[in-house]
């Protein structure tokens, strides 16, 4: 692949002697949607945790747009343009839906202590502009009526949608989505998938972890199959589905 967005090289991460990631390498191109599938404990979420700076691997390297990510704290990786959602759905439940989205915007002057007191006007102007962008994003996702409701008042599916909107609000170019459609109603699944499918048109790339193979087949350009920390198979959804090693791993 020429000029990949994300390059992962020979990652190794062990927990108490067990390989969560074992010499794992892959690349993600610009405008691609890559699916990562595999049985429980295969290391998929560990991969995300390492890529976003929450875990340190013992070996390997990750480069995003040519820039080394390992060693950076999570907040800097996010600022570089890599956003993620969490398997157990993290949100600030007590803040409103709108405030959750506003939180995600980058480069807010009002977040800096000095500006709060000495450049209040500028902060307010930016805040108003962010509000408009946030409402527009929520509108695209069909959540605008809920904007002032606390995030915990949303249904599970709507909350997952909200966390996706937050990733977009922060202007990320690479989205790592951990089980975006798990546990939500079929109508919502379709909505979520159609949004994800459109992301490359907006210049974004996506890596998603999923157990829902149908969803993966529908939306992904490429699929990686992992087991026990290793990459077992990689290719188009069709290729991976018919790969005997994959079939064997699932039967086991």
């Amino acid at each position: 692949m020429s000029d990949p967005l994300l390059e992962i090289d020979s990652l190794r991460k062990t927990f108490d002697g067990i390989f969560a990631l074992d010499d794992f390498s892959c690349a993600v191109g610009r405008g691609e949607i890559v699916g990562v599938i595999g049985p429980n404990g295969a290391g998929k979420t560990t991969l995300f945790n390492v890529a976003t700076g929450f875990l340190r691997p013992e070996h390997g390297q990750i480069a995003y747009k040519g820039r080394r990510l390992l060693g950076l704290p999570p907040y800097q990786i996010r600022r570089a343009g890599v956003a993620r959602t969490f398997q157990n759905l993290r949100l600030i439940r007590q803040m409103s839906v709108l405030e959750n989205v506003l939180l995600a915007f980058r480069g807010q002057p009002g977040e800096r202590l000095g500006n709060v007191f000495f450049r209040w006007k500028t902060s307010q102007t930016t805040e108003a502009a962010n509000r408009r962008s946030a409402m527009s994003l929520l509108g695209d996702a069909g959540l605008s009526e809920k904007a002032d409701d606390p995030a915990e008042a949303l249904s599970y599916g709507q909350q997952k949608l909200l966390s996706l909107v937050c990733c977009l609000a922060g202007g990320a170019e690479l989205l790592l989505l951990d089980e975006p459609v798990a546990g939500i109603a079929p109508a919502m699944i379709d909505k979520m998938l159609s949004i994800i499918r459109d992301l490359p048109k907006q210049g974004k790339s996506v890596v998603l972890i999923e157990h829902n193979l149908e969803a993966v087949m529908q939306v992904c350009d490429r699929v990686i199959f992992m087991d026990a920390g290793r990459k077992i198979s990689e290719g188009t959804p069709e290729q991976v589905r018919n790969d005997p090693r994959v079939i064997e791993a699932y039967i086991d």
């Binding site: 704290p73 969490f86 157990n88 993290r90 600030i92 439940r93 977040e111 202590l113 937050c166």
Partner: protein
């Protein structure tokens, strides 16, 4: 809370107070001082979610800084304030650092440790701080040539400081900065993943809160004109956190309500005829019981927003 009336043993209700007005002014000044203390702690614990029982230590640092400077350098109150805030702010940053690495309840222990160390220093460094004997004879504050001498004038001074502190707090929490604090309070992993430098926010809010406590300390030292370490103990820290919690953590008016309630209600004991020695204990029993009751039935306090729950125990 030291009160000039303590230990006077006389049965008279108003004892040393020249008039009833003086008494009410005194109460109002105390409310103001505790309001400032509670607002600072509310920022740290109520908005950022970092429960701390070290606040009385910063209160004491502010008081002793002002006292030592006023006694030895005869400096005006503005200078005392600035120095006290700087010193407390720096130490506030030091106390904030453990919160970056340890869980919230262990962090409380770390703040407790800091509190005890500061008390020990104040109590043992006799040559510098006067040790258990304290520092008497602190002069009245001088503000641009105005000597603040009467209770009424002092109330004006305290009142201005209260307004300033509340305004600062209001600005902070209504801004995106405040939004990040609330996010950190609920889920700092999420805040990190949203691109926020959580460590910087925690340290900053610790600094600001500590500086506010120092302001209260400076005012207290000049008002009471005699300070000793017993005003700055763990019990005092627990009293301040009680004000924040009972008033309501995570809301601007919580500390105000809490200070009014917890300063005035125990004063009513005075009128019930309790001997002053028992009154002190009764006051503490009241706020201790109120704290327990609050945690059991209304952890968000009277007007508050946050109940230290973080999504409810184990998940």
């Amino acid at each position: 809370m030291t009160n000039p009336n303590h230990g006077d043993g006389s049965g008279e209700i108003l004892g040393e107070w020249a008039t009833t007005v003086e008494y009410f002014l005194h109460i109002a000044i105390l409310i103001g001082i505790y309001l400032i203390l509670a607002t600072g702690l509310n920022l740290i614990a109520g908005y950022a979610g970092l429960l701390s029982i070290a606040h009385a230590a910063f209160y004491g640092i502010g008081a002793y800084t002002a006292a030592l400077m006023a006694l030895n350098l005869h400096s005006p109150i503005l200078v005392n304030l600035i120095c006290a805030m700087l010193l407390a702010g720096m130490l506030g940053a030091v106390v904030g650092v453990p919160s970056l690495r340890i869980r919230d309840d262990y962090f409380v222990i770390a703040t407790f440790a800091f509190q005890v160390i500061v008390f020990n220093v104040l109590n043992n460094w006799v040559s510098f701080t006067g040790g258990p004997m304290g520092l008497p004879g602190i002069p009245q504050p001088v503000l641009f040539g105005w000597i603040v001498s009467s209770h009424f004038e002092f109330l004006l001074l305290v009142g201005c400081c209260c307004v300033a502190v509340l305004w600062i707090c209001h600005r902070l929490v209504c801004s995106p900065f405040g939004r990040v604090l609330k996010a950190i309070r609920e889920d700092e992993v999420f805040a990190q993943s949203a691109g926020k430098n959580v460590a910087a926010y925690k340290v900053l809010v610790s600094v600001i809160g500590a500086a506010m406590a120092a302001v209260a300390g400076v005012l207290y030292a000049h008002y009471i004109s005699f300070i000793d370490p017993t005003s700055f103990t763990v019990m005092e820290s627990i009293f301040i956190i009680s004000i924040v919690i009972i008033g309501g953590a995570g809301s601007l008016w919580g500390p105000v309500v809490g200070a009014v309630v917890l300063v005035t209600l125990p004063e009513l004991l005075r009128f019930v005829g309790l001997p002053s020695a028992v009154a002190a204990n009764a006051r503490q029993i009241l706020y201790g019981a109120a704290l327990v009751a609050c945690m059991m039935w209304r952890p968000q306090g009277l007007v508050g927003d946050y109940s230290f729950q973080k999504g409810g125990g184990r998940q």
